[in-house]
């Protein structure tokens, strides 16, 4: 069972039921569960969307799009049925926050799905979990069954005359399915390749109907926002970045774990105070701040607030909230290689710049790490990555290129150390990565 952590600097909103037994529906109800859904039924869609907009909540999957606005884009009248789709395909390396939500607070996901459904006038919601999360799917399935048994889902929910169905779904191993249009393809029983946009899901989505797709954390936050009020939630964070989010701090820190911190919380403090700093008296070398696709930061760049805008200003992204901390013992070329190896493996092959680009990057960095490169290969790696940017169907191409560019830019000297037959100066170089 994943370890839970705690720190006085945390502001527990979404994680406040973690470790409280809230996977059981009665306990969830005791802890204010399903109150927000009832308020939402009573007060109606306009109120829900107004509160969501006031909350300043931005998508927790990584893109950071304002949730209230996303919900408001769904047309009121639609000939085709509308749907809510919860993205629990958590697969961005460095990210394990939704894992804890499904484990400790599955009803918050269900209640959030229902609230989103009420807001847009959908009658059906899907909760999609990555295939590896089978034990969490079982927890979700039980929670859904319990909610049906109480009359919170199904026909005439809470005696309101409104119907709402929730279906859980398993994936079967594919990072790409975390992309929203690929997720819809997968749920329709197809290969998870992205769709061309526009049309956007809010207009033509799942089964051709208007669809709201949100990350599991975003959805699970909605009930809390309705309970505490959008404005109160917004105040916890920074301007245009409402509330808190779950940050998973992993790698070389004393106390790795998932911490709920206010948006805008200082990254340096998160690493040194909240997660306890770097073990063994080692020096910090680099931080990947928001999952493996976000450009790396140097130690002198981490005195920055963890919100979408401040991170963008720092030349990187808030991403998925997965902060990966790297100490001085790590070869950054090896780290770059492991990163690109992942994207090469996960590229769905649908479009050429990503399929070929990730493959060539992997091959080039592999060769460089082994000592088989010359100086101009470093520029070639950067040139190749830069030419993938913005030229692919979906963000996977950028997700592979952005970190690569960052590693080359900020650790060029380490790339240089490997050149002309020298190979990796770090003794923990391993054959395994070179395969």
């Amino acid at each position: 069972m994943p370890r839970l952590v705690s720190h006085p600097d945390e502001v527990k909103i979404i994680s406040r039921r973690f470790g409280q037994g809230a996977a059981e529906i009665d306990r969830y109800i005791e802890l204010d569960g399903y109150k927000a859904a009832q308020a939402a039924i009573e007060k109606g869609p306009e109120w829900i969307i107004a509160e969501m907009k006031a909350s300043g909540l931005r998508g927790r999957g990584g893109a950071g799009f304002p949730t209230g606005m996303k919900w408001s884009f769904v047309p009121k009248q639609s000939e085709k049925p509308k749907y809510v789709l919860v993205n629990g395909d958590e697969s961005e390396p460095g990210t394990c926050k939704d894992h804890l939500i499904f484990l400790h607070d599955p009803h918050a996901v269900i209640e959030g799905t229902l609230i989103a459904g009420l807001a847009i006038g959908a009658k059906m919601g899907f909760i999609y979990l990555r295939g590896e999360y089978r034990y969490l799917l079982k927890i979700m399935e039980k929670a859904v069954a319990d909610a049906y048994a109480k009359g919170f889902l199904g026909k005439n929910i809470f005696g309101s005359g409104i119907d709402f169905e929730v279906v859980t779904q398993t994936g079967a191993g594919a990072y790409e399915v975390g992309e929203e249009s690929a997720l819809m393809e997968s749920l329709e029983g197809k290969r998870g390749v992205p769709r061309i946009k526009p049309p956007f899901p809010a207009v033509v989505g799942l089964y051709g109907g208007p669809t709201v797709i949100n990350n599991a954390e975003t959805i699970a936050t909605a009930p809390h926002i309705l309970l505490m009020g959008g404005e109160a939630y917004a105040k916890v964070g920074t301007e245009r970045n409402g509330g808190t989010r779950l940050f998973g701090i992993s790698g070389h820190v004393e106390r790795p774990g998932v911490y709920e911190l206010p948006m805008g919380f200082n990254l340096k403090r998160a690493i040194y105070e909240v997660a306890g700093g770097i073990p063994g008296g080692k020096k910090l070398k680099a931080v990947v701040p928001g999952g493996s696709s976000t450009p790396v930061l140097l130690p002198e760049e981490i005195d920055v607030g963890l919100d979408f805008d401040q991170m963008a200003k720092a030349g990187t992204m808030l991403g998925s909230g997965g902060v990966v901390v790297i100490d001085e013992s790590v070869c950054m070329v090896e780290f770059a290689l492991r990163t690109i190896k992942f994207y090469q493996h996960e590229s769905c092959g649908w479009c050429i710049p990503c399929r070929e680009g990730t493959d060539w990057l992997k091959k080039s960095i592999t060769r460089l790490h082994a000592g088989g490169a010359v100086d101009k290969d470093i520029d070639n790696i950067r040139y190749l990555a830069e030419n993938m940017m913005g030229r692919t169907f979906c963000p996977l191409g950028d997700a592979a290129a952005m970190p690569t560019i960052g590693f080359v830019k900020k650790f060029r000297h380490e790339f240089e150390e490997h050149l002309n037959g020298k190979g990796c100066p770090y003794e923990h170089q391993r054959e395994a990565v070179l395969v």
Partner: protein, 169 residues
Amino acid sequence: MSTPATTIFSPALAARFDKLVTLYPVRRSALVPMLLYSQDEVGYISDAVVEEIAVRIGITPLDVRNVLSYYSMLRTKPVGKYNVQVCTNISCMLKDGYGILDHCKQRLGIGHKEVTPDGLFSLEEVECIGACCWAPAVQINYDFYDDLTPEKMDKVLEDYRAGRGKETL
């Protein structure tokens, strides 16, 4: 699109599939879960599995194969009874995930995507499994093992060998 007269699945799984195809606006939405659940029961996606799922959903076997080949968890060959999946992605790599992988290779005497001669274990190096803050992490079939050391890994393997391992399905 029908319920086949005879089935290769257990009565429980067949009944589950009968229901599954009715849950969605289109039957085909049940395809990915059906493939995974079939694999859980049969051990891999055999030709017979493909044929029956195609009939149940009302698509061609080729359609089924087209989808099957996309998803990394779906396989067309058997693996060990316990498939040991070691994450070596970034957070795990920083916490010696490769050390755990090497340790498993040595203990089990097999490499990546190989099966022990007795069929009990297979080994796989996998991408991030969503346990990064509890790295290094391993999944055996569907069960997670976190914060591993070589010693802890030995204990986990020993438990499975002795038939005491967790088995979430």
